[in-house]
């Protein structure tokens, strides 16, 4: 039985036309060295440049950048098992939920299977029709269910609506989805650091170490949108105190990821992985046979000017603060 670290699972939800496929296309093009397994409903809409395709075997398309796309067909379980048992060392799994499905039901796979770790549920909303959908008696409850599952709401197609409409929609999404981040986008262009903890790690590495070999071009374009915070974390944290903090983290935090040492209730000191996205945080001990990291580190991200730096400093850092605003 392999004891690899669990694979992060991202679920992309949202109605047909909200931009799920556009977002996936964008992500696949800028995967920046991540080997992603992407499960989609239908290849029909996935407009991958022929130049990016290295092999096409019916239900599976292999890309030259190491990512693989699989068609779900009628059984998500079987498609996912195929990916997990393929023997390929993926860095993450991304599942496109079908338009009317509840992404949380898929996200639960990430919590159920020890081989997976739920990274985030990302729900796209089409700004140009969301108001109409929100009062459509056939669809309103489905839309609400999706938003309530979201760790990040991407309000897409913002170029098609007025500023007033955007503001009204923002208030409605806030009321329905609760305190999770909303990103306004056109063409589903969203900084990758917001989509995945993998890219976030990379963003943090770029500031704390010079030698990061990943491609940062994808999100430096959007540097104006968010702030990053990071620190070395050498001290030992109390596990139960950290879990309590994760249950109601300071407002403004979009994502957080780190590895640090924690003291368990029984006094044992373990290396643990710290994760937070949207509405879900977790603190999990690293597998006992995993190589221990050389040092602890935490990276966090928030919308520009909204990152709760003081609160992060107070909880996670005792050294002088460093704040970065990539430009």
């Amino acid at each position: 039985m392999s004891r690899r670290q669990p694979l992060p699972l991202t679920v992309i939800g949202g109605f047909l036309g909200a931009g799920k496929t556009t977002l996936l296309n964008h992500w696949l093009r800028h995967a920046g060295g991540q080997r992603l397994a992407v499960l989609v409903n239908d290849f029909g809409a996935l407009n991958i440049d022929a130049a990016l395709i290295s092999a096409n075997a019916g239900d599976t398309i292999a890309l030259t950048n190491g990512c693989v796309c699989c068609q779900i067909g009628d059984d998500l379980s079987l498609a996912l098992i195929k990916v997990l048992d393929s023997g390929v060392a993926f860095d993450g799994v991304v599942i496109e939920a079908s338009g009317v499905s509840d992404p949380w039901r898929i996200a639960e796979l990430g919590r159920a299977d020890p081989g997976l770790r739920l990274d985030a549920v990302i729900v796209l909303v089409d700004a140009s029709v969301a108001q109409a959908q929100s009062v459509d008696p056939l669809l309103a409850d489905t839309l609400v269910r999706q938003l309530k599952a979201a760790d990040l709401v991407v309000v897409n197609k913002c170029d098609l609506v007025t500023t007033e409409e955007r503001q009204a929609l923002r208030r409605w999404v806030d009321a329905v989805a609760g305190p999770v981040p909303q990103i306004e986008a056109t063409q589903a262009v969203v900084p990758l650091a917001l989509l995945s903890a993998l890219a976030l790690q990379c963003a943090g590495d770029a500031q704390t170490h010079a030698g990061c070999d990943h491609d940062h071009s994808a999100h430096t374009d959007h540097g104006a949108m968010f702030d990053t915070w990071s620190c070395q974390a050498q001290q030992v944290f109390d596990a139960s105190a950290l879990r309590a903090w994760l249950r109601s983290p300071p407002p403004g935090l979009l994502r957080l990821k780190g590895v640090l040492r924690t003291a368990q209730a029984d006094g044992q000191i373990l290396w643990s992985e710290l994760q937070f996205a949207g509405r879900h945080g977790s603190l999990r001990a690293l597998a006992a046979d995993a190589a221990p990291p050389s040092s602890g580190a935490v990276v966090a991200i928030g919308l520009r000017g909204q990152l709760p730096v003081a609160a992060l400093d107070a909880t996670l850092r005792r050294a002088p603060a460093q704040r970065h605003s990539p430009s």
């Binding site: 239908d42 009628d74 009317v100 020890p114 489905t142």
Partner: protein, 557 residues
């Protein structure tokens, strides 16, 4: 092939033709697998040289029964042991008595484990069983305590009848690495925090599926499964059935075509193309089904399309209109978005294909009717025969609209018995449970009506389904909506000509009259003479399919 130009005249105690112009007769002449004539021996003798066959002289003939909504899986489920609460007959004709207590379930598992052991099957090979339904056990839940009593070493997986739950033993918990630390709600725990072995919904069940793979529950249909299905159909007097959702890949088609090329396989099948996954495939799907039409034979008919709008009522995943669920559960789910349904429906409709749509809740039925109304306004097509399947909560105003649009209804009458009490008490409450599967309202509105089992969800058996529609009784003794009862002749019509109409085969099957296929259901008893409450107990001798005689296989006593 039957011998060309050989005429056989069957004498019967009574022939119920379902032809309103000649309701009964004593003799039927068959040539080339078709009905040459119906009447007296003297009338039929005018066709010339013939053989008089007296084997049915003391039997009652009806048109071969037609199951308009079932699945071939009914045949292959029997590769696994059955643990249901109701008696059920397997493809070999053996009757498996229903298991009415946890102890009975455990005892049966002990028996199966011993058989596997005796057959030299390794203890690591999981025992996978189906059909278990704890709703009849008065609230007692199955746990590892029961299953570990049955077997400690061999992993056990028990799939519940509703498809949403599983129970596993400690050996399977270990194999699937399910511990107290698993956070998912679907992993049910004891107060101590240890898992009980009950797994709810896909995420939790995924952990087991991942280990047992496509064994059992997800196994693809094979030829043996089709043969088992045909044997079960013969025992129930069924000569034509649908497989109402089939991906129709080349492999699927090869299984169907190989099995049905054998004249010993006693069924005519209509597989419906599963068109409800993916968002861009409708045009390709329609083209695929049209291409397959060229491969049709007498006993294999491509051309149906299946779409699906919502989930199931007892699983609380159907889409209900106001006032929603009786117990306050939130509304169910769309399997297809209504707008996507309309677009795909239009594509298949314009391709000239016959579309059967799964709609359980009344909101889903209404959404389908609205969509089809718009499509038919844009693209009228005479005599389309599009059909709503299940339609369990359709009321009189919706039936009136269906009639005006030419939509047919195939109602899930078996629910009246199998889940009628649950619908009355939990899902929809008395008012709507009393018009569950409202056959009376459908006929009053002039909607073409068929009724079905959805086998293997409930057992295949149109006479049982007819009994449900005629009596509307539940296991607790309720009568659900006496006014929605239909008469025995109406019910017999629904399982013959009515179903044939929804498959656009009423010119070929569904009644015994000149020119139609020689398809008969051979009965020991007369459905028009027995007490309507005994309709389900009619004895079936076997079938005749396109002139070939198939005695039902009965288990050695």
């Amino acid at each position: 092939m039957p011998n060309t130009m050989t005429t056989t005249i069957y004498a019967a105690r009574k022939i119920i033709t379902m032809n309103a112009m000649q309701p009964t007769a004593t003799h039927v002449a068959v040539r080339d697998g078709r009905v040459l004539g119906v009447g007296t021996l003297q009338q039929l003798a005018g066709w010339g040289e013939h053989q008089l066959d007296l084997r049915f002289a003391d039997k009652v003939l009806m048109p071969g029964l037609i199951e308009g909504h079932c699945h071939l899986k009914e045949g292959s489920m029997w590769d696994m042991p059955y643990l249901g609460w109701f008696d059920r007959r397997d493809p070999q004709g053996k009757l498996w008595p229903g298991l009415r207590s946890m102890d009975a379930v455990v005892a049966r598992l002990v028996e199966i484990d011993a058989q596997l052991e005796a057959a030299g099957r390794p203890a690591s090979e999981p025992l996978i069983a189906w059909g278990f339904d704890p709703i009849y056990f008065g609230g007692e839940r199955m746990t590892v305590d029961h299953l570990d009593r049955a077997c400690q070493r061999r992993p056990i997986v028990i799939a519940h009848a509703n498809g949403h739950l599983m129970n596993i033993n400690t050996a399977m918990l270990r194999l699937a690495e399910i511990t107290r630390d698993n956070e998912v709600e679907g992993v049910v725990k004891f107060a101590s925090g240890e898992p009980t072995g009950e797994l709810q919904e896909p995420a939790a069940m995924f952990l087991v599926i991942r280990k047992i793979g496509s064994a059992g529950l997800l196994a693809p249909m094979d030829e043996a499964g089709v043969r088992s299905f045909a044997r079960l159909a013969c025992m129930q007097g069924v000569t034509t059935a649908t497989d109402l959702a089939n991906k129709l890949t080349e492999a699927d088609c090869a299984v169907l075509e190989t099995a049905l090329a054998d004249d010993a396989v006693s069924i005519r099948l209509l597989p419906a193309f599963q068109a409800f996954h993916g968002t861009h495939g409708a045009a390709l799907g329609a083209e695929h089904v049209k291409q397959l039409l060229a491969r049709n034979t007498d006993r294999l008919r491509y051309g149906l399309v299946k779409l699906m709008l919502d989930g199931s009522i007892q699983g609380f995943s159907a889409r209900l209109r106001w006032p929603g669920h009786f117990n306050g559960a939130p509304n169910g789910i769309w399997v297809m978005a209504p707008a996507q349904y309309e677009a795909d429906f239009e594509t298949y409709h314009r391709a000239g294909l016959l579309i059967h749509t799964h709609t359980n809740g009344d909101e889903a039925s209404e959404a389908a009717i609205n969509a089809i109304n718009r499509v038919l306004t844009r693209a009228p097509r005479p005599d389309h025969r599009h059909t709503l399947q299940h339609g369990q909560m359709i009321d009189a105003p919706l039936f009136a609209r269906m009639a005006s649009l030419g939509l047919c209804a195939n109602l899930f009458a078996n629910h009246l018995w199998y889940w009628g009490d649950q619908h009355y008490e939990m899902t929809m409450g008395p008012d709507r449970a009393n018009r569950l599967d409202a056959c009376g309202s459908a006929l009053a509105a002039g909607v073409a009506l068929a009724i079905h089992s959805d086998a293997p969800v409930t057992p295949l058996g149109p006479l049982f389904t007819a009994w449900c529609a005629v009596n509307r009784v539940t296991p607790k003794g309720r009568v659900l909506g006496e006014a929605e009862r239909i008469s025995v002749p109406q019910a017999l019509h629904a399982i013959t000509l009515g179903a044939a109409w929804t498959l656009k085969l009423d010119h070929e099957i569904g009644s015994i009259e000149c020119g139609k296929r020689a398809d008969f259901c051979v009965l020991e008893d007369d459905p028009l003479e027995v007490d309507p409450a005994a309709l389900k107990d009619l004895r079936v001798w076997g079938t005749v399919l396109s002139g070939r005689v198939f005695p039902a296989q009965t288990a050695a006593a």
